[in-house]
Symmetry: C2
Subunit: 431 residues, 2 copies
């Protein structure tokens, strides 16, 4: 019988230090749950001499991945460095050497998850990644175990805390995009380079992980239709509010007999839909199953301790499996071939905001463009004209295909009376 479990921790940043803190402070509880103590045996960092606020002894820190991978007393590798190149290599080598891996790395899991899971399966070791999506919310486990018997046909939600924080400030405190980003950076919610967050790539990676799991297939990053926060134009947030919507950067994944669609984009959420009131850095994911119906999981989407809770939850699960000798028994080969929908198989309502010359007949002409594309309109609003004799039109369609929407966009751009298609949004939350 194993007397203790030793962990090799890769990285000691925001999440890594949180993991160390939880393992230390909850040691008695964890030992009660597992029957044996769990120790951090080594921590791999770039600079061993950097000053760190931690109770871990200095001699645990090393800059040699080799030292940790070749240490036979280390049972489990916990990867919390982030990034792709070195992190992916480290995880791959750890799995190859027969060590289980717990990771918080959404970048690696979105880009190389199937490949790494395959190695884990072959080597008979665990690869757990709860912390890669939804910070402290146990989403992966819910999809794998809690709803294991159900058939999931849709997921919708807010999976990026940074942009949700920004959008909350833009709506509630009328901040501009730049002001909101500055505040998010100041408070530590946004990274020095916020590109992955604001352009939707971070959320897209998380949706790849969730959709692959929910639909038991291998969704790829290129499959995700991504539009970032910078597509939100001045006045859009207020305009949404006037029509009873809240702008959210939402991830959505749906499956039907035609295939799968996955997207990340700014959408209009009806104010009465609970997603509209998920604020600040919180995340929330709706899961729709054939049998269970609608369920929702909400919690902190980022932060040191919340994310570390998911990592240590995985550590507990991996330790249990190690102690029972059943690690690596969960097979990950996807059940279904990857089949993505085409744009004429994706349906939604759309919100179009258009700047036009204020001429006689412009409304009739533009509505005819919708009619020509067999799109029916739910709402048509013409705003007062500005000083340059230009007016804004707002159209909200009934359900149309994305192809129809794209065709109409093209038609509008080509229309003489249209100065600019200012912005457009899918209307979410009508699952």
């Amino acid at each position: 019988m194993t007397k203790e479990i030793n962990i090799g921790l890769l990285g000691f940043g925001v999440v890594g230090s949180g993991v160390a803190k939880i393992l230390t402070e909850h040691q008695t509880d964890l030992q009660y749950k597992l029957g044996v103590p769990v120790h951090i045996k080594k921590v791999v960092v770039r600079d061993v001499n950097k000053k760190r606020d931690t109770d871990l002894p200095k001699e645990l820190f090393t800059d040699s991945l080799e030292e940790v991978l070749s240490d036979d007393s280390i049972d489990l590798i916990v990867e919390v460095m982030g990034g792709t190149g070195f992190a992916k290599e480290a995880m791959e080598r750890a799995l190859q050497s027969g060590k289980g891996v717990v990771t918080a790395n959404k970048d690696v899991m979105a880009e190389a998850g199937p490949e790494l899971l395959k190695i884990a399966d072959e080597k008979g070791v665990d690869l757990f990644f709860e912390a890669s999506v939804g910070g402290g919310i146990p989403l992966i486990r819910t999809l794998e175990d809690g709803l294991a018997s159900d058939r999931i046909h849709a997921l919708t939600g807010i999976v990026n805390g940074t942009t949700n924080f920004m959008l909350t400030k833009m709506k509630e405190e009328n901040m501009s995009y730049d002001e909101a980003l500055a505040l998010a950076t100041e408070l530590g919610f946004a990274e020095a380079d916020p590109t992955a967050d604001v352009d939707g790539l971070d959320a897209a990676r998380k949706m790849v992980i969730l959709a692959s799991l929910a639909f038991s297939t291998e969704v790829q990053l290129d499959d995700v239709y991504v539009r970032g926060m910078r597509e939100i134009k001045d006045g859009d947030v207020e305009l949404a509010e006037r029509f009873g919507y809240t702008v959210k950067l939402a991830g959505a994944a749906k499956k039907d007999e035609n295939g799968i669609e996955v997207s990340v984009e700014p959408v209009f959420v009806p104010d009465e839909h609970p997603l509209a009131s998920v604020n600040n850095e919180f995340n929330a994911v709706y899961v729709y199953g054939d049998a269970v119906g609608e369920t929702m999981f909400y919690g902190p989407g980022a932060g040191s301790l919340p994310t570390a809770t998911s990592v240590t939850g995985d550590i507990v699960a991996a330790c249990r499996n190690l102690l029972l000798g059943v690690n690596g028994k969960r097979k990950h080969a996807p059940q279904y071939d990857r089949k993505m929908k085409t744009d004429d198989q994706k349906f939604a309502s759309y919100f179009h905001r258009i700047l036009v010359k204020d001429e006689v007949g412009v409304l009739t002409h533009l509505t005819s463009l919708y009619t020509n594309r067999q799109a029916s309109l739910a709402t048509v609003i013409q705003q007062a004209k500005d000083d340059n004799d230009r007016a804004e039109l707002v159209f909200i369609t009934h359900s149309i295909s994305r192809q129809q929407h794209l065709d109409i966009m093209e038609d509008l751009k080509n229309a003489d009376s249209v100065v600019d298609v200012i912005s457009y949004y899918r209307v979410e939350g009508e699952n």
Copy 2:
């Protein structure tokens, strides 16, 4: 290697037929996940000849529990009969005979959970009960696994669908208690005898299960402070609305250095708190952990297929363990002794609604009663007097102990100017 897994199903009502439906319709998926087929081998019912709308062959049905328990080819017993006496005995005998048990039975788990879990541990078999709380929401699994590494200090939520449906109708459609109950009965949300639901016992049982698990101790039904829906008086729902609150029958469990408190009672939830907008038969439970902070889990709290999803989720987990030969390895002995708080260790704001004689000085007199008990008031409202020269007073306190609240109630009842203490509520959601 096991070639298939055989289930003995006890009961074929709303949940049982849902389980059969899911096992049949999702058989391919389940077989993919587990590697072997899962069959219902026998169904124990009271009346074999009753007409049933099911694809299961008639010869599977039997009225003999004995026949199922003595069938060595049956690996797992799924108890979905409900009730306590026979169901508890059946579960106990199944465990004693070395068969794993999956149950949806909150009554048995609340009253005899520790006893049955002890037998399961001794016999080395699994006893899973996800469906006993929160219908389709995977709450038990989240507490046991997802948040395994965290220390949970509070749980708050709506865990009874029937009463939440009624309260939603009472608020949104101004129905009376009787009208709402009639509608709930008509729609199948309320049972013929709704006592357990409306008097809070059903919710109390669920809170016993959740609190025991969250705090790793053995909370007993008698430990729960229970007040049911009938404590809600005419006009309370509207009055709450005027003050920015929604009345919900909420379960709450908290732990601090003094011990544990668990309650089920109608409370005032601030309208801006997300619990206030959990409507109809839906359930939602907030879980507060030291490390993770605030998380929330939402879904259908009742219904055939949602509850059956939780049951079949447990079946999948139990089958996995059986196939790996690691069933019954999760030890359930509680980590902590049961230690409940006294009433002077439980703190909250309270809302008091009082009918008084409209005399000079009544307000001064009554507020002095609060002062005498060291309770400070946040809000004092005197309503217009009625035709009998009586007026209603509303007091909302700052945080006081339940003991202070009880003392003040007593003082008020003894005051000459008080005609009646109409109703009182704890103010929830300020965790």
